[in-house]
């Protein structure tokens, strides 16, 4: 409301001026929202402003651009997963050589391209894929411990264990990433569970993942 409209003019009816004044006072309120909260006291309003949270850089954090993703370093059973870099193929997510040594000269952090064929309802999951022996040992991380993209976080191959680390919302075309939602925030322990079998058919989920 314009202040000039609140002011009275000579000879104006008091009632009309009063009504305008009351209406103006009603509009004088600090409105709370998700960043601002108010505490009304008889002497006035205390306005609290919330700040944006700090960034939490945790293991397996998925981030990237609209078409590629990167994953911060994390461990499964103390081993580093591999990701399919768009230029150089399967590389460790911690940007090191297979023996753990640094690259010289240093390479860019590996990034994986999103495959629009592995989406469902404009969503896709980034998952850890584990293939182990019966005792749960991951022998060769380059082939047996990978970051993969799946439409269904349960995966298709029951011999392998899958665990979603992030969900990506895509645009209507299903090709560009709009939002990242993180599922996992910790390093993981993988256990392969031996199940009692009937007629040589294993029942239940053998692949268990626990946060560390």
């Amino acid at each position: 409301m314009n202040i000039e409209q609140i002011k009275v003019r000579n000879g104006e009816s008091i009632q009309k001026a009063w009504d305008r004044l009351v209406k103006w006072v009603e509009s004088l309120k600090v409105q709370p929202n998700d960043m601002v909260s108010i505490n009304e006291t008889p002497n006035g309003v205390i306005v609290k402003v919330r700040r944006e949270a700090k960034t939490f850089n945790h293991p397996f954090k998925v981030y990237g651009s609209t078409e590629t993703i990167r994953v911060t370093s994390g461990l499964v059973n103390g081993q580093v997963p591999y990701i399919n870099d768009k230029l150089e193929g399967w590389r460790r997510i911690d940007n090191r050589k297979s023996d753990g040594g640094k690259y010289d000269p240093e390479k860019t952090i590996p990034e994986m391209e999103i495959d629009s064929g592995k989406t469902k309802e404009n969503k896709t999951y980034i998952c850890i894929e584990v293939e182990s022996n019966d005792e749960g040992t991951i022998k060769n991380p380059e082939t047996d411990l990978r970051i993969v993209q799946l439409a269904d976080p349960e995966g298709e191959d029951k011999k392998k264990g899958y665990y979603p680390i992030a969900l990506l919302y895509l645009d209507k075309s299903g090709k560009k990433i709009e939002q990242f939602f993180q599922v996992v925030h910790h390093n993981l322990r993988y256990v392969r569970q031996k199940q009692a079998s009937e007629n040589k058919k294993v029942k239940g989920n053998q692949h268990l993942f626990f946060p560390l």
Binding site: S13, I14, Q15, W18, L21, V22, V25, L28, K29, V30, Q31, P32, N33, D34, S37, I38, N39, E40, T41, P42, N43, G44, V45, I46, V47, K48, V49, R50, R51, E52, A53, K54, T55, F56, E121, Y125, P153, Y163, P164, L167, Y169, Q179, F181, Q182, V183, V184, H185, H186, G204, P211
Partner: protein
């Protein structure tokens, strides 16, 4: 002669009070939080709808998205487009739909409960002392009083309600609601067959594991005035004690408190002058699993092998024993039965 209009003193002074309450006197910038965790709730006042709503940082259960009920007017465009693509019609503003919390819906805060003065009692002791939900110390320090209505007398002589001491003009009111996470699952049920004299069949009891229908694949949020979980079973044999196995597991996500300005009446409405406070109960994504359905253990049937009648009696005896073996098997299954109450754990 012209009449001179006048303004009553109390009307003038009420306006002055209103202005003085609304003038900002201090701005406080909160310390930057370490991180914004999953399930974090942020209430806000919707000025158009004149009510409180909240948003929630997405959390996952077993890596699966969680849904929340919301009105179309509070739903994100992504939700509305998804529903239209699925063929849902009549998406008017007030219709309640299920939105994924990753789609950033605003969720209404509906009914709330009163804590402190004006609250309903939660129980009564043997000496006729009413008990109430306690006011958290944090809010006591801010001026919220405990509920103080008590009863006196006896059941035989008559009971009267007694108000506590006068609260004073600076008293503040406290309301709250709870946000809970639900996960549908199969449940164990006893089914009873009464038998029939027409065909001579006996009554029997069966144990089945299933869901009555409409089991939701995704976990979902509910907002209620108070979180009331079903009682925890004492033992795995609770079904035999008559306890019903519910078809869901649930967990409290958060309690949202609303603190009134000073001097608010007991009947004051929850409006933008109240201050929200959130007590979060979970901070990490979750996993969930129900109990495993027990395997039907085959029993050793009762047999009687006898050389009577050159062995011809054995099949006859087996036929006689057959219904008893059936009853024995059912009894064994009932004794093995248990509720399928599941557990949530954090990732």
């Amino acid at each position: 002669m012209k009449t001179v209009p006048y303004i009553q003193t109390h009307i003038w002074n009420e306006l002055v009070d209103k202005i003085s309450r609304r003038l900002p006197i201090n701005f406080v910038f909160e310390k930057r939080p370490t991180w914004s965790h999953p399930w974090k709730i942020s209430p806000k006042w919707d000025n158009d709808g004149k009510q409180w709503v909240f948003t929630i940082k997405p959390g996952f259960v077993n890596g699966i998205e969680v849904t929340a009920p919301t009105r179309v007017k509070y739903a994100n465009s992504r939700t509305i487009e998804r529903l239209k693509e699925a063929g849902v019609k009549n998406l008017n503003d007030d219709r309640v739909v299920d939105a994924f919390i990753c789609e950033s819906p605003q969720i209404e805060i509906g009914s709330t409960r009163i804590i402190g003065t004006g609250a309903n009692p939660t129980g009564i002791s043997s000496n006729l002392r009413l008990s109430y939900e306690p006011v958290p110390q944090f809010f006591k320090d801010l001026g919220v009083g405990e509920s103080n209505v008590q009863i006196s007398g006896s059941l035989s002589g008559g009971i009267t309600f007694k108000d506590g001491p006068d609260e004073g003009k600076k008293v503040r009111r406290l309301r709250a609601c709870d946000v809970s996470l639900w996960k549908d699952r199969p449940s164990a049920k006893f089914e009873i067959y009464n038998g029939s004299i027409l065909d001579g069949s006996m009554g029997s009891v069966y144990i089945t594991y299933n869901h009555s229908g409409g089991m939701r694949k995704n976990p979902y949020l509910q907002v209620s005035a108070e979180f009331n979980p079903p009682p925890e079973p004492d033992s795995v044999m609770a079904l035999l004690d008559g306890m019903t196995d519910p078809e869901y597991d649930l967990l409290k996500v958060a309690t949202i408190y609303f603190l009134s300005p000073e001097g608010a009446s007991e009947e004051a409405e929850l409006d933008s002058s109240w201050t929200p406070f959130v007590k979060n109960d979970i901070f990490w994504n979750l996993a969930h699993s129900p109990q495993r359905i027990p395997d039907p253990t085959p029993i050793e049937p009762i047999r009687l092998i006898t050389p009577l009648a050159f062995g011809i009696a054995s099949p006859t005896i087996a036929m006689i024993l057959s219904p008893f073996n059936d009853l024995l098997n059912r009894a064994a299954q009932i004794l093995m039965s248990r509720n399928l109450a599941g557990k949530f754990w954090s990732l």
